[in-house]
Amino acid sequence: MFKKTLNTEDTLENSGLTDEEQQLFSNARPQAYEPYPIKAVEDFANWARANSLWILAFGTGCGAIELRPLMTARFDANRFGVAGRPTPRQSSVFVIGGYASVKTLKRIVRSYEQMQGPKFVIALGICPVNGGMYFDSYNTVNQFDQYLPVDLYITGCMPRPEVLVAGIMELQKKIKAGECDGANRYVENFDWYKTNQKKVIKNWDMPDYNW
């Protein structure tokens, strides 16, 4: 059973939910990841994380087309420990494939929050950086890092799978060095991210955090 946090000072409002739905979701805030107290253990854990990057199979834009050749024989991402996973609960890397429309952003936020830590976000293409060719679109967000924390950008339109491979190797380096703290940034600045998300997602009919 879920457990509702009763301390009202530090809980989420879940104001997008009906009274009935309020009973179904927890209102607790997200918690930051605490590294292991012994550095060698944390380093070992980071090495293990870097070598088993499981990508969420959620093609959020046109860049998702580059993930298909990445998995097949020619580029063979399996040699880096990269695998596709069908559900957010099983995956640790979210590749934002290019532009994110507002409708998709809602699903992206939802999927990202369902992912279990440690989790990393790669923003693929120029669109998450500054909107790219959709800079004046009524439906595409221009600065993706306003809504979710990004660990690594791979720019280009479209980046080829080779660049994606290079990006994955770069992400592995950053994880091994312990620099990928996107999920913790999300927790620390949770209210700021939520405000930004609610500013563009007008029909917020989902819980604020816990799924």
């Binding site: 507002v102 500054n130 439906n139 595409t140 306003q146």
Partner: protein, 180 residues
């Protein structure tokens, strides 16, 4: 072909008959007789396939032009039926009774242009734009750049070139692009 168009001209008062390509003719028809005309074309003339249905915003003339594109598989011929509706009273007869798939187009037109189709299934539900609170975005009075700047914001440092000038000066400097 010409017999059919002559008959339609007599019965439905169609106008602006234009042969656009070797296998495509378009014409205008009045709003109130459009549904009957489409039914006639589908049932008697063999234009059984609705390719698509879309809308053009002629803001200068204060009209929307709805375009119904029909195809005849036996004659391999397409007909574009244009219907002008007023921008003030943007309402049109739903044709989901003729082609069931038309409700999708009508739902899209309702969302993107704000055209009403009374009786069309699920026409008022959100389609691509969830929670949209502005005027429909494909209407030409909607300033999409301004909206994007206000709602999404722009990252500093973005640089844009005017394409014609950039090509003249940077890419083809020898073709009359002396000014720099």
């Amino acid at each position: 072909m010409n017999d059919m168009l002559e008959r339609l001209q007599r019965d439905f008062n169609i106008s602006d008959i234009t042969e656009r390509k070797s296998r495509l003719t378009t014409f205008n028809v009045k709003k109130h007789s459009a549904e009957t005309l489409l039914r006639e074309l589908r049932d008697r003339e063999g234009y059984t396939h609705l390719n698509f249905m879309t809308c053009i915003d002629y803001i200068e003339d204060e009209i929307f032009t709805l375009v119904y594109m029909l195809h005849n598989y036996d004659k391999k011929y397409s007909l574009g039926i244009h219907v002008n509706i007023s921008r003030d009273n943007e309402e049109m007869i739903s044709i989901h009774t003729l082609w069931a798939q038309a409700w999708t187009y009508q739902r899209e037109l309702r969302e993107m242009y704000g055209i009403r189709f009374p009786g069309s299934p699920r026409v008022d539900e959100d389609f691509c734009l969830e929670g949209w609170d502005q005027i429909p975005p494909m209407r030409r009075e909607f300033d999409t750049k301004k909206f994007s700047e206000e709602r999404f914001g722009h990252r500093a440092g973005r640089q844009s070139e005017e394409p014609r000038q950039h090509m003249k000066v940077e890419i083809y400097p020898n073709r009359g692009g002396s000014e720099k």
